[in-house]
Amino acid sequence: MSDIQLYLLDVDKNKKEASRIAEQSATRLQNNELKLVALIESLGEYINNEDFTIRAKAMAYLAEVLSFVPPKILSRHQRNLLCDFVLSRIADDGNGLGACAKALMALEERGKWDDERATAVTESLINNTHPLRQYKQQSERYPVLTLIDALMAKYRNALRTLHDTTPDFMSRFISYFDGEKDPRNLMVVFSILKVPMTEWAIGADAQELFDAVFNYFPITFRPPPDDPYGITAQDLKDRLRDCIASTADFAPYSFPALLDKLDSTSMNTKRDVLQTISSCVMEYGPRTVSLYSVTLWDALKFEILNSQEDDLAQEALTALGEIANTLSQGTTGSLNAYLRPVTKECNEHLEDAPTKQSQATGQILYQLSSVSPEVTNIILAIVLPNLFTLFQTADTIAKRRGLLEVYVKLVEANSKVFGEWRYLSKKADVDPASNALTEFNEQALQVMINGLTTAPIKEVSFRVVCLNGLLQSTKVRQLLKDEEITRIIQLFHDVVITEESHGDDEMKSAAINGLLEIAHQKPQLVVDRAFPAFMAELPDSDVDGSLSYIPVLEAFAKLSSEGAVFDTVILRLKNKLNAAIKQGASSAYLGALLTAILYALTQGSSKIEQATETSPYYEDIVVPLLSQVSSADPSLQLAFDNESTLDLVGRICNIIIRSQPSPSQSQIASSTYTLSSGLSQSDLPPFKLACSPQQTKWTIISAHLLAALRRDVPLPSEPQSLLNALISFSDQLSLSSPVRAASLCQISLIVNKFIPTSLLKQIIEPIFSSQSGLVDPRALNSSSVRVIFSILKGLVLRNSPLLNTLFPPLLSFLSDQNLGKLFAHGFATLLQPDDLLTKQNHCTISGLHKQKVFTLLVPEIATRVREADAETKPNYLIALSGILRWVPFAVVKEELETLAPLLLQSLDLEGEEVVKEAAVDMLEMLLTDLPKAVEGHVGSLITRLLNIAAPAVGKVPAAGAKGVLQDPARVRAVALKCLAQVPASLRTEIVLPYRRQVIKRLTGALDDRKRVVRTEAVKCRAKWLGVDDVGDDDE
């Protein structure tokens, strides 16, 4: 059988095979085994077959063959012959049009045509197959469209000439595509039509051409779920928009049509229109836009002044901005013509400020002023005089506020176009001197300074606006003179320092942030002006016991977050601290100062971490502090006698030291325990048990120092002995809890950081051996249990295999009458985050340690709890939730499903609020991430949560009566949060049965003693009221 026969057999049932055959024919052509003539002849009978499907398939065959023929095989002459042949087919047989188009495409790809050819092909297509929509098959039309698209792309001139020379061509061309509906085809049609739009002289045909595309506006289409072509509605929108915006010739039709569609009630249409308007404005150019600018303004303004959807308003603003932008590339006249009505109307809206529309006015002016210096200046010149007149005559503060809000907007825009002190404007050629704002500056400053200083303190919003206005002004490049900025700085710190506190102190925080921002623009001015003022407010001593310094201190410390002034802040604070120490200030004041320093350091931690070698901050801060702490001078001893003061000192040293490289740390390490006391280490804790109370407290500092050290830094003593020393030291029952915690923490640090894995086993195991007293049940007491878990904690973080053997025996203590509770809490601490055992402190923290603990303990506990008797059961539950709460939810998730019942039981524990809280949290997570895990227990979950949140069923707790058994407010609140999550996560039919009961019970919580709880109760109840009782909607 000939290839064509085979092809015809397969083409319907097996496309692949058919193609293969076509390909093979192509190869045979190539190898001259098959003559082109023969091929054509072989087609003969089929191409003329009375069955049109056969005819079509035959053409398809030819097309495929040609597409497989490599270039240069067919001679130009052959190609021409074929081309004519195909065209003749098109002329006298509509069937197989798609195939014909493919064939032509193939031919064109195999050799560029001359203009005549291109023109001929186009014409014959348009003449013989007009309109294209008569071909019902998308697959028939598509190749034609792609072909034409290709021709438009490759033979621009030829086709343009065709248009220029043939009068009616354009209209036939346009109508040719009428009624195309298929998205894929439309994509092509749009791109075809864009060529004449952009490149041809369309004059008379403009409207027709415009309508051809605008008919599709606003285009909408939802791609089928499994759309193989991945054409989105957005693609269509974009191409359509490009077409509409393609040529200024459309303006007379597009703008009216678009504005007409703007009245649509569909938000999407509106959005589409607004975006299209923007792109038209961008493309059409100043001359055209100037004709429509005012019309557009009149329509667009509504979207802003009476906005319903913020994003629509934003689109409209963008459009207005674009207009100004385009016009400022044209004549000043046209720009003025546009801005005149705009500013006029804005001025009118200002008159009834503060209203929705005066706010909108602010946005409009902001948007426009941000366009260019030119626009800004025009606007300022028209709006500001009016604005200030209104301000002077305003009868209410609210109105003045409304006006200033607009002014501030203008200043913000101004710094965008004229740049800030530290940032030049994007536009290179902007001359700050030309800034029209300068002219109103003085008046504005006076008005705002006045407002800030004279308005009553309760006029928060007004004063905030004044403050903000001043702040914005200080930013604008070269707008204010340094004296003026200094004046403003002073006003700000007056607000911070001297002004009495009001409400949420919005003003104060605004002022502080103001100073920060100014410090960013003009650091020196702030340092010179504000710092002395702050310092003056900070006493050297607080013998009078007043706490007035705290807000000042807070404010001052905040400034440290501005890199430019960081060092100065630290320096001043340090000096103040020394002064305070000399003056024998209270430990409260010292504490405050130290906290401030610590805060500053954390703010500027980036600066500290850069420090290579010995950081200057070490010499400046750590060294003096340590010598003061360990000094024999009684006054100093007194100053640093307080544990939390020492803790702060420790933190400060820690934050500075920990980032230093090992070498410099090594020099410090030796004095970890001696500090700079000059005493011998062996006479100090932990090596010596009975020490002076003060030296004992140093343990707190040494803990922080030890934490700061890198792993490779040699310890002041060999790890094992140090560890043992610490163990026996911590085992003293006499220790104050801060000191104990510190030494326990040191144990964890040693175990985690300083014992190499190689030695770990031989050092740790003996400690847990039955010989050593530590785990001997008879000897166990609260402090030894603490030691045990501090060791475990160190191991847990480095994910040591030792745990596999250490845990099991310890678990069994949970069922111990006396020690059970203690161990339960111990297990609960294992994963509890600790702020010294961290990566920054160079601890070994395995990414998997939580999972490890989870897998080692949880399943075991879960099984044991089931056997546990009523008395010890709580211990298991405590341990369980204590661990679970810190394990990443992803890990717990699957298990939680089975643990849910246990969590529910933990909700019944008396007094274990922490446990309950944890359990509730987890249940809430479950609800959000894995509802099905809870579905089974909804009933008991709801009841338990209600019992926590709204105890004493139904009864309203008599105001003041303290529910003895009631959980603390915090827990009641989270329970309600969780309860609120229930209807949010579970299917209606599941929760509906509980709706009435819950709503009724919650009235109890609505009357809770605590506001926080009530707030949650209200939210929760609203959620449940929202559960739609399907019956509720009428019929």
Binding site: V460, G503, D504, L648, A741, E913, R970, R1021, D1032, D1034
Partner: protein, 197 residues
């Protein structure tokens, strides 16, 4: 563009001026006048409350200190309701105002019933939505307040052309109950209350 609105261009209060409970008052009263800027710096060190000792109920020692439901709390409940016409809250439109909220104590020693009186101020005197707004306020409070409170919502005297009629309607328990069974009206109310979360 929505000309059929009763009041297309209402005056808007600035959030800063709306009455509010001092932000941290509900948590911890700061007698030092500080903002607690540094608090997060000193994390509750494990030793500050030792996990081994039964958790110090000190954390909630003030739990029996009763915080009564006061006018501000009522205000916070209703000021966040949004106006049926504008995407704005009744608070910022000054439809509800703190001074126009009163809590009346029980009238007799034995009576458990307190009364909340809220006077609302429509944005304009002929606002046809006054009733809906009033209804919204009443519904919100009936949902959010314990049942020992009776809720009386009224239009502030002289701020509305037909205030008496509206008041009578808002006061009529039966009408309110029936209104709440009306799907369409409920829809509007839900939308208004949606912003209360």
């Amino acid at each position: 563009m929505d000309p059929d609105k009763d009041n297309a261009n209402p005056t808007i209060l600035n959030p800063s001026d709306l009455p509010s409970r001092r932000a941290n008052a509900s948590l911890k009263k700061r007698d030092d006048g500080g903002t607690g800027l540094f608090d997060h710096l000193i994390p509750a060190y494990t030793y500050l409350n030792d996990p081994f000792d039964a958790p110090a109920s000190a954390s909630d020692s003030d739990d029996d200190v009763v915080e009564d439901i006061d006018e501000q709390e009522i205000y916070d409940l209703i000021s966040t309701i949004s106006d049926p016409e504008h995407p704005l809250s009744l608070g910022s439109l000054a439809v509800v105002n703190l001074p126009d909220i009163r809590i009346l104590p029980p009238t007799t020693l034995k009576s458990p019933i307190s009364t909340v009186v809220v006077e609302i101020t429509p944005t304009i005197t002929h606002c046809s939505l006054a009733t809906v707004i009033g209804l919204g306020v009443r519904v919100r409070l009936e949902q959010a307040l314990p049942p020992r409170f009776r809720v009386d919502v009224r239009i502030k005297k002289g701020t509305h052309s037909t205030d008496e009629a509206v008041n009578k309607q808002l006061g009529d328990k039966e009408r309110v109950a029936a209104a709440l069974e009306n799907g369409t009206l409920m829809g509007v109310l839900r939308k208004m209350l949606a912003t209360c979360e």
